[in-house]
C-alpha cells in the first residue's frame, strides 16, 4: 500500500480537504478573511453548535435522529432566563447543572417514546419539536428574556475566561468534545453504541441492552442541547420564544453528516463532526467577508451537504476499489 492509499483511507480526509480548499480560495479572494477577527468570529460561532452536534452524532451513530434539539435548547434557555429574573445571582455552575438537567429530561422523554413504543425517532422528535416549543411559549407567556435580565457573569462566559481570555464556552465545549471522543472511541459503552447502530439485531443477541444504549444517546443529546441553551443566553443576551433555536437542528445535523457520520448508523467520529461544524462555521463567517449576501447562506449550506456526501461516497468507493472490495 502506498502512502497515498493510506492517506485515502482516512475517512475525515474529504471534509478536511474541502475546508483547506475553501479557506485558500476565500483568502485569495479577500485577504481580510485571514485576520484574527474573522477566526475569532468562527470560533465564537462554533461552540453552541459543536456541543449539540456531539449529542446528535451519538444519536445518529445509534441509528436514530433527534430533530427536537432546537426546542430543547429554547426551553432550557427560557427556564434559565426566567430563573435569572428571580435569582440574578445564580452561579454559572448551578446554571450549567440546571440546563443540563432540563435537557436530559427532555432527551430521555424522546428516547423513552422511541424505545418503549417502537416509534421511528423522526416522528417522535418531530412531535416533541412542536411540543417542547409549545412549552416554551406556555412557560414564558410568550415574553422575551431581555439583555438586562441576563446577569453579567453569564454574559462574560462567552467573552472571556481565566485562561488567556479564551471565551469560557470555547473551553467548555472543547472539554465536552474531548470527553465525547474518549467515550465513543475508547469506552465499552461507546463501542456498544457503534455496535447498536451497526446491527441492532446482532447487538441484542450479543447481550447489549439496546434500550439502555438508545436511551443514553437521546439523554446525552438532550442534555447537551440543554447546555447549549445556556450558551445561547450567554452569547446572544436574549431568549425569544419564537426565534431562539428555530431551525438550528438543520445546521447541527448537516454538520454531523458533512463530517462523515453515516445516516444509516454505525459509523462516524468526533474529529469528523468537529470538522463538519468547523466548515459550516467558516462558511458562516466567510460569506459576509466575501460580499456574498446572507440570503445565499442556506442554499450554500445545502450545496455543501450534497457535495460533501457525494465526495465522501466517492472516497469510500475509491478505498474499496483499492482494497479490491468491490465486486470481488
Amino acid at each position: 500500500m502506498t502512502l497515498f492509499d493510506k492517506f485515502l483511507r482516512i475517512r475525515e480526509l474529504g471534509i478536511f480537504s474541502i475546508i483547506v480548499v475553501f479557506v485558500i480560495v476565500a483568502a485569495i479572494i479577500d485577504p481580510r478573511f485571514m485576520t484574527l477577527d474573522s477566526w475569532r468570529a468562527v470560533f465564537l460561532a462554533i461552540p453552541l453548535i459543536l456541543v449539540m452536534a456531539m449529542g446528535q452524532m451519538m444519536v445518529i451513530i445509534c441509528r436514530h435522529v433527534d430533530i427536537s434539539i432546537g426546542s430543547i435548547l429554547a426551553f432550557s434557555a427560557i427556564v434559565i432566563g426566567l430563573l435569572y429574573i428571580q435569582f440574578p445571582g445564580l452561579s454559572l455552575w448551578l446554571s450549567l447543572i440546571i440546563t443540563a438537567f432540563v435537557g436530559l429530561v427532555m432527551g430521555l422523554i424522546n428516547g423513552f417514546i422511541v424505545t418503549r413504543f417502537n416509534v421511528h425517532s423522526i416522528i417522535v422528535t418531530l412531535g416533541t419539536l412542536s411540543l417542547y416549543r409549545g412549552l416554551v411559549f406556555i412557560v414564558s407567556g410568550g415574553r422575551q428574556i431581555d439583555r438586562n435580565d441576563i446577569p453579567e457573569h453569564v454574559v462574560s462566559f462567552s467573552q472571556t475566561s481565566f485562561l488567556f481570555s479564551i471565551p469560557g464556552i470555547l473551553i467548555f465545549s472543547a472539554i465536552i468534545v474531548v470527553i465525547t471522543h474518549l467515550v465513543m472511541r475508547h469506552s465499552v459503552l461507546g463501542r456498544e453504541i457503534y455496535a447498536t447502530g451497526s446491527n441492532p439485531v446482532a447487538a441484542h443477541l450479543k447481550g447489549i441492552n439496546v434500550t439502555k444504549v438508545t436511551l443514553f444517546c437521546f439523554g446525552i443529546c438532550g442534555m447537551l442541547a440543554g447546555v447549549a441553551g445556556l450558551f445561547y443566553a450567554s452569547r446572544f443576551g436574549y431568549v425569544n420564544p419564537g426565534v431562539t433555536g428555530v431551525g438550528i437542528e438543520f445546521i447541527v445535523i448537516a454538520g454531523v453528516i458533512i463530517g462523515g457520520t453515516s445516516i444509516t448508523g454505525g459509523s462516524g467520529s468526533v474529529l469528523g463532526t468537529f470538522l463538519g461544524i468547523l466548515l459550516l462555521g467558516i462558511i458562516n463567517v466567510a460569506l459576509p467577508v466575501l460580499n456574498i449576501p446572507g440570503e445565499f447562506q442556506k442554499a450554500i449550506y445545502g450545496l455543501i451537504i450534497v457535495v460533501a456526501l457525494a465526495l465522501d461516497q466517492l472516497i469510500i468507493y475509491r478505498m474499496k476499489k483499492l482494497s479490491g472490495g468491490i465486486n470481488a
Partner: protein, 494 residues
Amino acid sequence: MQLKTNNIGKTFSGVNVLRNVNFDLKPGEVHALVGENGAGKSTFVKVLSGVYTPTEGKIFLDEKKVNITSPIVAQKNGVSLIHQEPQSFSHLSVAENIFMGHMEGNNFSRVKWQDINNKSNEILESIGLKIDPKIIMEGLSIADQQMIEIAGALSKNSKVLIMDEPTSPLTPNEVGKLFDIVNKLKSNGMAIIFISHRLEEIRQISDRVTIFRDGDLITTKNIDEVSNEEIIKFMIGRNIEEIEVKENQFIKNDEYILNVKNLSLSKKFKDISFNLKKGEILGFAGLVGAGRTEVAKSIFGAEKFDEGEIIYNGESIINNSPNEAINNGFAYVPEDRKQMGIFGPVAVEDNVTSAIPKDISNNIGLINSKTVSTMTNDYINKFNIILTSGRQLIEELSGGNQQKCIISKWLLSKPKVLILDEPTRGVDVGVKSEMYEIINKLAEEGTAIILISSELPEILSLSHRIIVMREGKITKILNNKEATQEKIMSYAIN
C-alpha cells in the same frame, strides 16, 4: 451428558410446533439435526439458545437443570448459537466483533484494546484463521465472518455450539475449512449441534444424527448405522426417487435461441461462448467465484460486458438494463433471495406480480387487485405454495415457499430464457424435488434454462449439457451422458 432435554414442547398461539423432545448431546460430539423446513429443528435450537422459552419440559446442562430465558442466559451457561447469516458489526473491528457484549469492566471502563486484540489473535490462531483482529469487518467474506462468530463463542468459553445451517452460504473450499475447525473443536471436547440440508456433509462431519418431522423428534441414530435413503425416509415419511434428465421434443431440433460469442468482462470472465436451445437446461458448474453469476448478470443486463456478442433469436442484442432484458424475454432468479429476490414486508400477491406491472393495471395505471389475486392463486395451486392467503407477507414464508414465489413471479413474465442462480439453496428436500419437477416442466414447454448451481447432484440430474467454469473461463462443456461429479470437479479445480 453435556446437554439433555426432557419432554420439551413449544406452542405458538395454540399450535404445537414442538412436542415431547427428548434429546441428548455428549461432549466432543457433532450431533446433526435434520428435517424439512418447519419440522421443528430450528424452533428446537432456538429454545436451547434462549431465543424462545419452551412451553413445557426441562433442559439440563452438565446434569443441572437450567432455565434459559434469553440468549444472554444461554451464553452465560455456555450455549452459543452460530447463525446461518453471520450477525456481525460491519463497521467495527474483528476483535470488537469477537468481544462485543462481554468486554471487561463497566460501561465507562476503557476498552483494553491490546488485551482484546491479543486474545482475538490467540483464538483465531487456535482455529487456524489468519486474520488481523484490528481490521474492520466490512469486506470480509461470509465464511470469515462465520469463523469470527465461532471465535466469539470460543471467547465466552462455550461448551455447546449450535450451528444453524452454517455451510449453506459457503463454497466447497470454505466448507472444508469450516469442517477442519469443527473437528478441532470436537477434539477439544466441544459439544456441537449441526443443522444442514446436505446429507453428504452430515455424513462427513457428524457422529450422530437426529431427525425431526412435524414437530416430533422421530429418531436419533449413529451416523454409521443409517443410510441416506433411510434418513430421507424418516424426514419425509416417503421415498424420493432419483430423477433422471428428461429429454423433450425441443432438444432434438437444432434451433438455438441464444448464442453467446466471446463474452468478456475485465477481471470477471473471458471468452465465454456457448449456445442454448429452446427447451434445454444448460447447467453452469464451478466453484463460487468462478464467474458464473457474473456471466448471467451480463446477459441479463444487470452488469455490462466489455467484448463479445449475444445473438438472440438470430439477432444481435445487448440488454442495457434488466428492464430491457425482461421485455426481450429474459428472466433472472438471483442467488441472494433475501436481498435481491423478494420485497420482504410486502404481500405474496404483490411480490408475485411485481415484474409485470402492465398486465395487472388498467389504462391509467391503477392496479386491479382481482387480477393480482387470480394470477397469484394460479401459481399457489400449481406450485403448492404453503401460505395462509395471498395477502400474507412474503417474509413470513419458509425459504422454499419464498423461492417458489420468486419463480412464479418470473414465469408470469413468460420468459423465453430463464436464468436460475442457485434455485434450491437453503430449501428442504421435499420442496427441492418439487422445484426439479417445475424446472423440467418449464423445459418441456420450451423455455430455455440456464441453471447455475453449486450442488453437483442437482446439476447432474437436471442439465442436458453442463458448462464448467473456472476463474472466469469455460474449461469444459460436457454432455449429460459423459458427465460425472468427479469429471466436473476436476474441470472446476484444475
